[in-house]
């Protein structure tokens, strides 16, 4: 079973049970962002978590195996078109150099890892319009001299 078939099975089972990523993640004991990324095929799952996810959704071992597989991370659009995703791309374009200035001032020459990395989404209620709070947490990796 490849990642695409796995995602179809997981998303259908989730919809049939009327579940949200939030509820599933809380019951299984992981973060909703990580759970969604694993189910969409962009991260691999440890064996025990894969078993918990498929047991929870009453799916078979082939789906669990597919969750454990190491994905090849491919995206088709160098510049995304969906407005929600484009706005994130725009933030990187507008604030990329700014973040480089501010992060390297604080940490020295290096980068924020996208591998030793986690991310959360929160909702901040506001009478003038609710706000999305996105938190990225990545290990700082200093450049090496040799």
């Amino acid at each position: 079973m490849d990642k695409q078939a796995m995602t179809d099975a997981l998303v259908s089972a989730k919809a049939a049970k009327g579940l949200t990523w939030e509820t599933m993640a809380s019951d299984i004991g992981v973060s909703p962002v990580w759970l969604a990324s694993a189910c969409l095929g962009m991260n691999s799952s440890p064996a025990d978590t894969a078993k918990k996810i498929t047991d929870y959704l009453e799916l078979g071992e082939d789906v669990a195996k597919a969750l454990e597989a190491f994905p090849t991370k491919i995206w088709d659009q160098a510049v995304p078109t969906d407005p929600l995703i484009y706005r994130l791309y725009e933030v990187v374009g507008v604030y990329g150099e700014t973040l480089k200035e501010v992060i390297q001032e604080k940490f020295g020459d290096g980068i924020m890892s996208a591998i030793d990395f986690s991310m959360e989404v929160d909702k901040v209620e506001d009478p003038k319009g609710d706000r999305v709070l996105l938190t990225l947490n990545g290990k700082f990796l200093p450049y090496k001299t040799w």
Copy 2:
């Protein structure tokens, strides 16, 4: 005075005085990310803040006027090459659809604004290696039916 000359003047004065964005921002009363973005020419500054910035760095009124000007936000690389900026682009590529799933589950059909938006950078000390904490805060904008 165009934005490029303005940035040169601001960055030189900041370096000559041995200042950081952090110190400057704290003394002027704004966020370091916003301050850096305005000085790099990617945001316009209200007139009073522009005056504070230029007074602080002992620069002239032409620099203040340039800070107030509304910038045309242009970036040359559709896919950035600098590793610090690329990692952020990679996060958008790897987690874009995941964020769409999780945000729209929480808020309904719509997007996180990149205009009614702010961002902070924090340092979390950690014996296994310090971590970069990046917080994005954007108003949720629901799609409209008409």
Copy 3:
């Protein structure tokens, strides 16, 4: 049922009944542009409107559910080739900076939202050749200082 199958079902039913977007929209109580965009899969529909659309066209609940689904908005051609669509792209290319000048002079630094947004098409009869009147109506979003 995915958006593509939904569009096929809606467009076939509309053609079989000899309807126009104009008539349908007027009977259902929405705008023709919004109605067409929802049926082509580029906007989601509120549940009650989705029910009205599918009842009107005598289609099933699966089509209604597909109309309610939040679409991922993707277009394949960064530069469109169809002449009708290209002319709109050309208008953005030729008049983009001009509109930035005129809008920001009137409203300050910010943008016209494409999310809190509506659009109408009208026909102006003219002996020298009828004219297309396209009206875009978007909320102004000012940039934020923080």
Copy 4:
């Protein structure tokens, strides 16, 4: 004098006199959008209007001649990055096929001209946030059979 030097001269004179496109256009008797596009070098001006513009700004005949010259309309970014201009590009991407459906239903097979064309920007005040009203008016051109 080429178009770039012409634009620099016109924009500097306008700024020095503290004028807006709106005021200038109203005093000269043209539309602000057309006036800005001609001064930014994206449209040519009839000789008498060019004279009015340069007299109004107290600029010389070389600027008037440059306003009359037929421009080569070039834009560098196939996909614009400035958020105000990108949102217009996004509207073309999201609603391009929808507009094709609705316009051709009303007019038959053909296009809206971008040459026999005019455009206006209006401000609609609204307590929930002012709105930008953009009106495009183009002649319908039917395809020809031969």
Copy 5:
């Protein structure tokens, strides 16, 4: 029946009857270039002409309906590779600015329409090698001031 299936049906019937575009066009009373473009799906046909074409080739009403449908004109290669088509692209690249100079000198600021447009192909016999004569005939559209 979509345009692709329509083209397959028309081209097969034409080949089975051993016809040329030239003969068909002459018998039906249209131009061979227009006829080929309609049969290849790049132009829509008036209802009566569509009926003539399908009667001539002994094809059904579904093909006629497909001929009447308004096509979305899409081409995949921004730079064509087939040598016959590339040479035309090369002519636009080499002579584009030249044609702008010569046409606008004769007609003023404006363009040659590609919508109110027709084209013919002729063969000029020549002992040193026959020549292709391509004639493009498009309405001049002057830019508008407003």
Copy 6:
């Protein structure tokens, strides 16, 4: 003297004398399209014609030498943006396959040369709007079997 400096010299002299390509071409005994293309640097001129052109415009031998030089034909925009040139590109996109069908039906497998090639621009007056007549004349080159 390179081609760019040559073009500047030729175009300035032509403007100073108030000449058109049409008049110059007629007086010198060449076609206006060829003359413009040589003066814009996209074709080389035989030595005697180069002398006629520079004598006519009272320019020096360095300009004549530059006219004789074999140009490297480069254009920057794979997809042109100027509307007059884009419409020609659009004709190649919309009618490319059609022309391949019609030309190869008439001539066999091969192409229309863009080297052994000439082109003319004519004006057809018409009360409903004047028309541009563009005539391309290229030698047919059959593919070779070996």
Copy 7:
């Protein structure tokens, strides 16, 4: 039968009979390069040669008809990735301007035709490593003045 199915039939029959392009070409009386290009669908074959090829491989008349069809020459990769083909592309990149200098010095302003053209591949045995000898033979086409 389209070109792809034709190529599959020809290549399978050739492999089943254990033939090389070299042997086939020599027996049929054409060049191996031309033969391979026709069988891969990049050139059309005269009717008698098509019959010889299909008789030789014991294939039917539908394959012969497909060999006679005029191909649309399309390649997908603007920059090829296969190392053998890339090296040829690299030669064009590294030596393109050099060849322009040397060819035009010898022949005047013009090009080497890729239509009135043939090509051979030879093997030169060499104790230090055999060498590939590639010979391109194209008619010189001078630019035309008109």
Copy 8:
């Protein structure tokens, strides 16, 4: 002295002396194609040959040193536009897979080197039009198993 300045010096001196690449190459004892490529900055020259070239053209030691420098081979156009160079690119596109078939049939799995490589240009006089003969000679490099 960088390669660009070196090329300007060499080409000017060559033109001033009315020399051809052919004559120069013959007198110096190298191939005209190699000589032109070294003088255009796309190959480095051994020290003794560099001295011969600069002595021959009466140029200084700085030019010789620049000829010896190892060039970074860069070309700007992934798809060349100049017709002479494009035709070579077209040959790679049309015949790339054919050459792969024919070369690998003769030599086994591997490539023709573009480094251990030479090239010649010859003129074949022909009453029907002279022909360009281009000979590429590259070492065959077999793929390695390890």
Copy 9:
């Protein structure tokens, strides 16, 4: 059997037997990197090795034949997106010119062959985090003068 079907067969058999590339390569007597590249279809295998591989995995002669076939090496993403592969691309971007400096200083003007080439992957255990050791070994090919 084409390369894609071959890879599917090989990878399934390997998974069913619970093998690693390392074990297989050691048992067959080749390098794991070469073995994986041949099984993924990016290198051809000598006949005897192909037999060993298919005997080892109990697969048929059609798979062996497919392993022997000379592959056309194609990759779809000019800039890879998978993070593991992108980091290698980044190394080429960041260190490309540096490697050119250091290699050519050591060897003279020339390149490292990617054809007469091998590569190994090793694991270096380290308490601060294990390290990947990648060794590339390619023949130096000097540029040729002719």
Copy 10:
């Protein structure tokens, strides 16, 4: 002093003293690859090493400061053209998926860091042609579950 001016100063001083990266690196106590990358502006130098480099080359403090500055790593060519650099790019294209298979089999799901990374170049003498040995050494970073 920006990185470009710094590189010019360092490379000129190195050439004037007839030094190699190898000698310099050995005397200063760093690796030649790292030294070259820092001097070419693609890595920052610790302050003490920057002082050693500039003292060694008898350059001023401004060059040392520029060596310490954190570079923005930009490369212009998504696909490099210089043959030495292209071969490395080709290795990534041909062996990218293979390396992913072999590395992740050995280490689990994760990547080789390009930040906590070093690289060496060695020469292996060989009578059949010397060989370049390139060693990449990067920390393995496992993906994180959260």
